[in-house]
């Protein structure tokens, strides 16, 4: 971690971090049981890193910019500023544009080897 970045972390957090570095694996596990949010954060870190890497590969190693267009005329920056209600309305619009009436949906034949939802095999 860069010195400047470390300097921005409050002193009390740094003190606790110093103590935690001396914890055994078992003590760290006990701590996580006492503070489940730590596990959620660790999980989020692992998952975020996995997907961030995957998206970067899809973009040929070039990180996206906030000015880049996302969908529906919005840039990524504009999308990230939407409130929860605005975001829901945005997606409702996207899905409504291609929405079908029940009678417009095509019914397909069942694959002879299909497994039905009950988990049972189709009768011969």
């Amino acid at each position: 971690m860069a010195v400047a970045e470390k300097a921005r972390i409050p002193r009390r957090v740094q003190v606790i971090a110093e103590v935690l570095r001396r914890f055994s694996q078992e003590e760290l596990a006990q701590l996580v049981r006492l503070v489940p949010a730590l596990e959620d954060m660790a999980l989020q870190q692992v998952i975020s890193t996995h997907f961030r890497q995957r998206m970067l590969e899809m973009r040929g190693g070039i990180a996206p910019s906030l000015e880049e267009e996302f969908l529906g005329g919005l840039t990524y920056g504009e999308y990230l500023k939407l409130s929860e209600e605005e975001e829901e309305a945005f997606w409702d619009r996207i899905f409504a544009e291609g929405g079908l009436e029940i009678d417009q949906i095509e019914e397909h034949d069942v694959d002879p080897g299909v497994r039905i939802p009950a988990g049972q095999k189709r009768a011969a």
Binding site: D40, L43, Q44, I47, S48, H50, F51, R52, R54, M55, M58, R59, A63, P64, L66, F70, L71, Y76, Y79, L80, E87, E88, W91, I94, F95, E97, G98, G99, L100, E101, I102, D103, I105, E106, E107, H108, D109, V110, V114, I116, P117, A118, G119, Q120, R122, A123
Partner: protein
Amino acid sequence: MSTPVSVFLLDKSVLRKAIASLIKVEFEHPLSAQELEALSLLYFAQRHDVRLFISEEAFNILGRFSRPEIQIVLDFVKVMKATRYFKRWARRLREYGFTREDAKLLALGVQAILTFDLSLLNNYQLKRSHIEKRLDEMRKALPTPFNLVKLPSVMLPKEALTLL
């Protein structure tokens, strides 16, 4: 003993949270609890051999867009197509107060539907026993394998994560 759930159908509320979570990951914004759940679902389903599906309609809508966040979500799911009697059952489900979108999902005949939509969850729980009776009546007239179909479970993604 009940059959383990290995097939989940994602509704649009879960899909949009998954896509939003990927955007936030890219720009290093913190994820909401629901966004983390949606993203965790993709991550763990792949590792536990659980199949995630979306409707053919949702696939056709999202498939028009080439954004990496959408393409990654589509990489993790398969398409659930409607089969015979879908329309008949979906029309009947509309009579129980489900939206057109929800009736279409419920009629696809999967083991479990995942949603963040509490109105769908609550309405389904409230009317499930009536719907079950209606399905029983309909099943009697159907050939195999359609007469073996069961109602899906409708649950929040966080419940599904406990099953993986």
